[in-house]
Structures are given as C-alpha cells and as structure tokens.
C-alpha cells in the first residue's frame, strides 16, 4: 500500500493528513501554528513518525501560508489549489463552489472535475475572515465558536463598517449602549456572511453545489446564515477543516520515486 502526506500550515492551526492509495483518510492531526512555522513542522514530523508515517520516506506536500517552512516536504502547492481539490474529495460532484473562511483570508473557489477553474480571494483587509471573528469574539469575551452559537438567538442589530478596526469600535459602543450579547454576536456573523456572499457572487456561472471548508465549517449557524444569504444550501462536513491538507495529500500522488 502507498501512503501520501498533506500538511496545511495555516495562520492559526496546522492540519496534517495521511491518505492511502485509495484516498482513504488514515490519520489527521491538528495543532496550533504558534510563533514558528518551522518548529510546528518539526513537531508534525515527530508525530507522523510516531504513527508510523515518516515524511522523509513518503510523498509529502505542504500548503498554507507557512508552506515554505516545511523542510521535509517534496513540494509546495498553494492553499487555493489544495482547498479546491480537498473539497472535491469530501463533497464529490462534477461542479463545486468552495467557500473557505480562513484565519487571514477568505477564498471562493470554483472546481470542475476536481480541478480549480477560477477563484477569488479577499484583499489585504481582514473583513469576512476568521481574523475578524476572532477580534470581535475577543472584544465580547467569548470563544469564536461560542459567538457563532450565540448569534443564532440574536437579531435586529448590524455593524456597518467592513474594516476590523472600525467594526471593533462599533462593537464596543454597542456594548456600551447595553445591546444584548446575542444581538451583537448576530451582527458580527451577519457582517462576515454578507462580505463572504458578496465575494462569492463575483464568481460567475452556476455555482453547482456550494460547500464550506476551513475553520468555520463546524459552526452550524454560519453555514445556515450563508445558505440563506446565497439562497442555496451550503454543505459542510466535520472534515472540512482538513480540506487544505487533504488537497495537499492528493497533490502528493504525482510525486514519484518515494513509495515503492
């Protein structure tokens, strides 16, 4: 049996998967990225070895913003390509629109036949990203996932600014006015969902199936709110956060000379 390793070093978490040649998921790991991507990569190497998969011996592809810091990877592939491929593996289907809300950036990827056909990515600003959510959750003294859960019970409030800094001031003044926490949480998620949806609309053509990957895919409320905003059902699965790592492992299939 041949094995393939994919490592996705994101801005907050590093995700690692091992696939066998039938594309069955054998192992998945997640750890905080911390200060040094190189240290994280070495920690991953240790864990993989303990599990019996030596990345020096097996085809290994790195992706994510820290992809260049994985000394033992055979090659790097961008997170856009990897998320597209990984999502196609998870969700199947000829045509797929992948929404990945990452820590630093949000990507909308069109996938046809397992290959990326088009994509858009937010610019420097962090509106509509996991970072935005994190900052707002901090201000509200909540964990990001708790904020998302709370948002379902709120309503009636909105944040007008897209800029994280200004939006934070808005949240603070909402708190000052005595606005209920769930209403503020609602406004935060609503702001992210609107921004992401407007990005998604830039990708023309019929969306096919739409799915959510990345760290926020376990928040049911985010998925529901996106479904309403985009007027189509947005699919998500628990392995969604590993989509990038899965895509990297799939990219490792083309590396020759390691598995025999």
């Amino acid at each position: 049996m041949n094995y393939y390793i994919g490592i996705d070093i994101g801005s907050t978490c590093a995700k690692t998967v091992v696939l066998d040649e039938n594309k069955t998921l054998l192992l998945h790991l997640v750890q905080p990225t911390g200060w040094s991507s190189v240290d994280t990569a070495l920690a991953i190497q240790r864990e993989l070895r303990e599990a019996g998969f030596d990345p020096e011996q097996l085809p290994c592809v790195a992706t994510g913003y820290g992809r260049i810091s994985v000394p033992f990877a055979d090659k790097t592939v961008t997170e856009i390509t990897c998320h597209g491929r990984g999502a196609a593996l998870l969700h199947g289907g000829e045509e797929l629109t992948v929404i990945d809300i990452g820590g630093q950036d949000t990507k909308i990827i069109r996938v046809e036949g397992g290959m990326v056909k088009d994509f858009v990515m937010n610019d420097k600003c962090s509106a509509g990203t996991g970072r935005f959510l994190e900052v707002m959750a901090n201000t509200l003294a909540l964990r990001p996932d708790a904020l998302c859960d709370l948002a379902r019970r709120g309503g009636g409030t909105s944040i007008s600014s897209m800029c994280t800094v200004f939006a934070e001031s808005e949240v603070i003044s909402l708190i000052g006015r005595g606005e209920k926490k769930e209403n503020i949480a609602y406004a935060v998620v609503d702001s992210i969902v609107k921004k992401v949806a407007s990005q998604a609309r830039r990708l023309e053509g019929s969306p096919g199936r739409v799915c959510l990957t990345g760290g926020l895919c376990s928040c049911a409320y985010v998925r529901d709110a996106l479904s309403i905003e985009l007027r189509t059902e947005v699919a998500a699965c628990p392995e969604g956060r590993y989509a990038g790592a899965l895509g990297a492992a799939l990219s490792a299939f083309s590396i020759r000379g390691k598995n025999v």
Binding site: T78, E79, D118, F119, M121, D123, K124, E204
Partner: protein, 423 residues
C-alpha cells in the same frame, strides 16, 4: 551615483532624502534583475542606465539646456513627442513608480488617489528626482480625474500646459485632438523660440516612428515559443524608453533585437519549456515598479506581453509619414494617437479587441489584469475585460495592488494558484 552630488545640489534637490533612494535602488535592482539567468548581453546597456539613473541622462539633459534646448516633462502616452522634437525640444517621461515618493504626494493629495499620481506629485514637491527638477515645462492632459486635479497643484510649483483630451472617439473628437495638437505646437514654438515646419515635424515623426518600430520588434520576438527575453527585461526597456533619447533608444533596442532573433533561431530561451505564458493588462508600470513581473516570473510563469502604457500602448500604430503640410501632419498625429485605447475613453471596446488579439498573437496561457489601487477607470473596465476573456475561454486573474510590498506574499499566493490552475 556619487559623482553627481554637485549636479543634484545645483538642481536644488533634497540630498539627504534622495540618498535613501540611492541606497535601496541598487539592492532592489540586483535582487530583481541581476539574479536572472542567461540574460541577453544587450541588456548591459539598460543595466548601466539604471545604475546611473539619476545621473547620466539628467546630465545630458542639463548639457542640452545649456545649449538652449528646452525639456518637456510628460505623464501620458497621448502627448505627442513629435511636436516637441520638431521644435528642437526634448521630452522626458515623469511618471513615478516607487512608494518612496508616495508620502510626499499624500501631503497634498487625498489618500484615495492612485499611487502613480501620488508618487509623481511627491517626486516634484519633495525635490527627490532630478528629472522632475530639470523639466522646464510639464505637459498634462485631461485623462483621469486624479490627474486633472493634480495638475492644478503641480501648476503652483512649475509651468504646466494642459492638453484637452477628448473622452470619446467620434470623427469630431479626432478633429478636436488635431486642433489640440496644433495649439500645443504653437505653445511649444513660443516656449522654445523655434519654429515648427513641415520639414522638422516630418523628421520628428520619422524619428519616433523608428523608435516605435524598434520596440515593436522586441515585442515581436516575445511572441515566439522560444522566449529570448524575460518579461522583466522587456519591461525595463519600455520604462527607460520614456526617458532616453529616441534615436539612441531605437538603436540600442534594434541591437538587442538582433540578439533576440538570433536566440530564437538557436532555440535559446530564458525559461524552461512549458513555462506558462502570461499577458499582463491594465494600468501603467512606471519605473521602478517591477513588483508584479518579479512575482510572476518567480512563480513558474513568464510575462510575454504588457497591454499597458509601459507596453503595447506606447508603440502600436505608426504615424502616416506622407503628409507635407502642418495641417495634414497634425491630423495624421491625431489619427495615430486616437488609436490608443485607454480606459479614460468611453466606449472603449477597442481595448477589449486589443486584449483578445494579443492573447492569440502572444500565445498566452492566461491573462492577469492589474489595477493600481484607486484607479477607478481601469478598475471598472476590469469587469468588461474579465468578462470578455472568460467568454473567449481564456483564464484571467484580476489583481489590485499599489507600490508597497505589504501585499507581496498574498499576491504570490494568488499568482501561484493561478499558474497551478493553468495546469
């Protein structure tokens, strides 16, 4: 560049600030240019010009001024060099392409002005570029809103002449542009004290046509599957073309082209076979803006053509040389210049046709449409460009950026993903 200190002092430049620029430029150039492998030997000339960028050409211009010649600074490819040259004047481009000058521009301009305008105004007001000091007169045009208003601010500091560029391309607009060129000619005559005659204008038209042909020849070589020159190097030739003497520019470019054509015959390419070919479209890349070319050409792709003012818009279409009266020549000039397709015109379908044609001619795998931040014209037209390309089945990536390096890694991810997508 140290031997020029006295000259810079005499030009009233801010030497201390200027030193900072002199210190970073060689490193940047080394990293981006000298790190390339197997460059054409002919590029030595341009390497040399860059190494002395604020010295060698400025001192030539100063010598010419001592002999009574006037220097005109321009900001747009619609301003006809021919008219100035016919009156024994000299033209130099003045567009700023570095973040270095942007804060200077932001002192007087809104933040939401495009970096090209901010850098140009900053270079003048901060006194950190010799070309901006040397030019006796600046020639502006009514193209985009940002420039129109910037002229008013620059005009307080330096003599400014504005040409009124039409915004549409009907017959009467071409007629009007011919009249504008005639009026500009009168101004140039008055300012230089030299008469423009059909003979001098005819000679000037010929000179600039020869320069256009030489630059077009270089682009012709880039259509080859065997790529004899990198996009970065070709861009440098274009950027310097705005500053150099037109006869020398044509001569050196033709010499470079001899080498490029030989390389094609010998199958010598600067990129490995299978490197993805990219057409870059959009806003100008003024010197020393090499950011995107560098990112693209270190991400497994090559830039094979620039549909830009620092590219095809500068040299495509020649002026009819058969006219023998000034009136006929002004009209011939107007007709040629109005064939250029800038987003400041409406409608501007000619530009879409250009882009689709170039995508074929240069055998490109994909198009990257780049927009300088806050350029409303090209940003808006980007919608039409992307739509037309998608309809034609040509992959396209839209990018917005400025002169800072803060988005370099993000851009790299996008460009790499785009190249991966091209297969």
């Amino acid at each position: 560049m140290s031997d020029y200190v006295q000259m810079w002092k005499d030009l009233g430049m801010d030497l201390e600030t200027h030193d900072n620029l002199c210190q970073v430029l060689p490193t940047a150039f080394g990293d981006v240019y000298l790190s390339q492998e197997n460059r054409p030997e002919g590029m030595n000339f341009w390497d040399f010009v860059v190494s002395e960028i604020h010295g060698i050409r400025p001192s030539e211009l100063l010598e010419a001024q001592k002999k009574g010649q006037k220097v005109f600074g321009t900001f747009c490819v619609y301003v006809p060099d021919e008219v100035v040259i016919a009156a024994n004047g000299i033209v130099t481009g003045l567009c700023g392409g570095s973040q270095f000058w942007v804060p200077g521009g932001e002192k007087v301009l809104p933040k939401s002005t495009c970096p090209l305008i901010k850098a140009s105004v900053g270079a003048r007001l901060d006194r950190t570029c010799p070309f901006f000091r040397i030019a006796d007169m600046y020639v502006g045009e009514t193209t985009c809103d940002g420039k129109k208003k910037a002229w008013e601010i620059l005009g307080e500091d330096v003599p400014m002449y504005i040409m009124d560029l039409p915004q549409m391309k009907r017959e009467k607009d071409i007629q009007k542009w011919a009249e504008e060129i005639a009026a500009f000619a009168r101004k140039v005559e008055e300012f230089t004290g030299n008469a423009i005659t059909p003979e001098t204008l005819g000679a000037a038209i010929h000179t600039i046509n020869e320069k256009r042909k030489a630059l077009a020849r270089m682009y012709e070589a880039r259509k080859s599957k065997v790529l004899p020159i990198s996009g970065k190097d070709a861009l440098l030739v274009m950027q310097i073309a705005f500053f150099d003497d037109p006869v020398r520019c044509a001569q050196m470019t033709n010499k470079l082209c001899d080498e490029l054509e030989q390389r094609i015959q010998d199958g010598v390419s600067v990129f490995p076979a299978g490197t993805k070919r990219i057409l870059l479209t959009g806003t100008p890349l003024a010197i020393p803006n090499w950011k995107l070319h560098h990112i693209i050409e270190t991400s497994g792709a090559a830039v094979v053509c620039e549909e830009m003012c620092t590219g095809t818009r500068y040299f495509e279409n020649l002026v009819d040389e058969s006219q023998t009266t000034l009136e006929g020549q002004f009209m011939a000039l107007a007709q040629r210049y109005m064939k250029t397709n800038c987003a400041c015109f409406t409608p501007n379908t000619g530009r879409i046709d250009d882009i689709l044609r170039m995508a074929k001619e240069y055998q490109v795998d994909g198009v990257i449409d780049v927009n300088l931040k806050f350029c409303c014209l090209y940003d808006t037209e980007g919608y039409t460009v992307e739509k037309a390309l998608k309809e034609a089945g040509i992959p396209v990536l839209g990018i917005e950026t400025d002169y800072t390096d803060t988005d370099a890694e993000q851009l790299r991810t996008r460009v790499e993903a785009f190249v991966e997508m091209l297969g």
